[in-house]
Amino acid sequence: MASSKAARMGEEVWKTRTEKINLEVLTLTYGTLVSQLTHDLRDPATNIPDYAAINTELDRMGHSIGLRLIEDFLAKTSSAGPAPCNNFRETAEMIAKVGFKIFLNVTPRVENWDKEGRSFGLVFEEMPVSEFVELPDDGRAQEELWFLNLFCGVVKGALEMVQMQVKAEWVSDVLRGDDTTEMRVTLIRYIEDEMPPDDE
């Protein structure tokens, strides 16, 4: 129920309230950013990219995007009716069907809930940002680099601004030879609000 409402909201905001740009401009820019990091962040001894450091840097960049993006998200969705965001399950639907829809024009599936309902997977059937990417054939990138790690940071940063501390990490990526591309999002805690939830 929350799912179809979120889907409708996502569609509407995407169609009527989102300025567009050619997807390829975004994907090429993202590619250039990650490839820059593989140049800059290298192990000085071996001159091999430090993929762990690149993951961290992408995550950090995404986090700071998330902190700012949430305002835009709330502004765009508020006029499309009240957000069905009363529990973590509804939050998951909002991230998948509204958040990713309006900011990336993709809709991941929400799957693989844990028993407690505190952790779910976002499964991406397609990921335009990595459409033309092949990781370096150095025997390490496919084991160590999460090309899309910026997006984990975005999810974390955005949820933090609405009082949710979450862990977000990729657990599989077709770029690594996996069969799926899945981000795992786990609720750590609700940040005790200084503001009551209904406060405008």
Binding site: W14, T18, E19, K20, I21, N22, L23, E24, V25, L26, T27, L28, T29, Y30, G31, T32, L33, S35, Q36, H39, D40, M61, S64, I65, R68, L69, D72, I102, F103, L104, N105, P128, E131, F132, V133, E134, L135, D137, D138, G139, Q142, L150, V174, R176, G177, D178, D179
Partner: protein, 242 residues
């Protein structure tokens, strides 16, 4: 390869230092692909040609890129050079992607005018969904051409600190142009992005600002400076009546 005018010393070169490597035979790839066998070679190059995505998302990402290069730079000109270098490889890729998409109609731009047309129209449409606003030859220097964009989309949603108001982040687009032109074999002296108005992108033309400046505060001029080899080749063509 002609060098840019005074790039800061620690800015990466256009290409990594070249070392001739012959493919080791037999080369054993260590890459694995998913069981669906989807690799980049299975994708359709035309699929995402006109797919839209969110402009704000691009703006967030582009801001991130600028912040990153800002953090590594000591001056406005160094940020611009770094943004140019970030765009440069994109230009190299786009030249062939766009030619591929023209299929049988594709011809290589071999003359300066063909190349400028390609940039002004084909490249601009692919990136920004419209042609650039104008194309002019420089008055004082024969090797200079200017492409005008009244409202570069890369400067929308961009908040550049006041003290850096001269910074024009369209330097990134200038880098894309330089990549296209260099790849096509025109050995550029450089491609740079400049504000059309003295007040920069702030739109804060004081007092009697002229109409044009008010209407297009972000108007940007891309200055393309062709290298000597390309100029000599062009002269030879003209002399040969071609």
């Amino acid at each position: 390869m002609p060098s840019m005018v005074g790039p800061p010393p620690d800015v990466p070169p256009k290409e990594p230092p070249y070392t001739a490597i012959l493919p080791a035979k037999p080369f054993h790839s260590r890459l694995h692909s998913p069981s669906s066998r989807k690799t980049i070679y299975d994708r359709n190059l035309n699929r995402t040609q006109t797919t839209p995505t969110s402009l704000p998302s691009f703006a967030y990402l582009f801001n991130t890129l600028i912040t990153y290069h800002h953090s590594k730079s000591g001056s406005v000109s160094e940020i611009e050079t770094r943004l140019n270098r970030a765009g440069y490889p994109i230009g190299i890729k786009l030249l062939d992607l766009l030619l591929y998409r023209q299929a049988r109609a594709a011809v290589r731009p071999t003359r300066i005018i063909d190349l400028l047309q390609f940039v002004h129209t084909t490249l601009w449409r692919a990136l920004f969904g419209r042609a650039a606003d104008a194309l002019e030859q420089g008055v004082s220097n024969k090797n200079e051409y200017m492409i005008f964009d009244n409202e570069p989309v890369v400067n929308t949603y961009l908040s550049v600190p006041k003290e850096m108001s001269q910074l024009n982040c369209a330097a990134f687009v200038a880098g894309i142009l330089e990549g296209v032109c260099d790849a096509a074999g025109f050995g550029m002296e450089g491609v740079t992005a400049h504000w059309a108005s003295a007040s920069g992108g702030t739109g804060g033309a004081e007092g009697e600002g002229n109409k044009e400046e008010e209407m297009w505060p972000g108007k940007t001029i891309f200055l393309l400076r062709f290298g000597e080899v390309a100029m000599r080749r062009e002269e030879a063509f003209k002399a040969g009546g071609g």
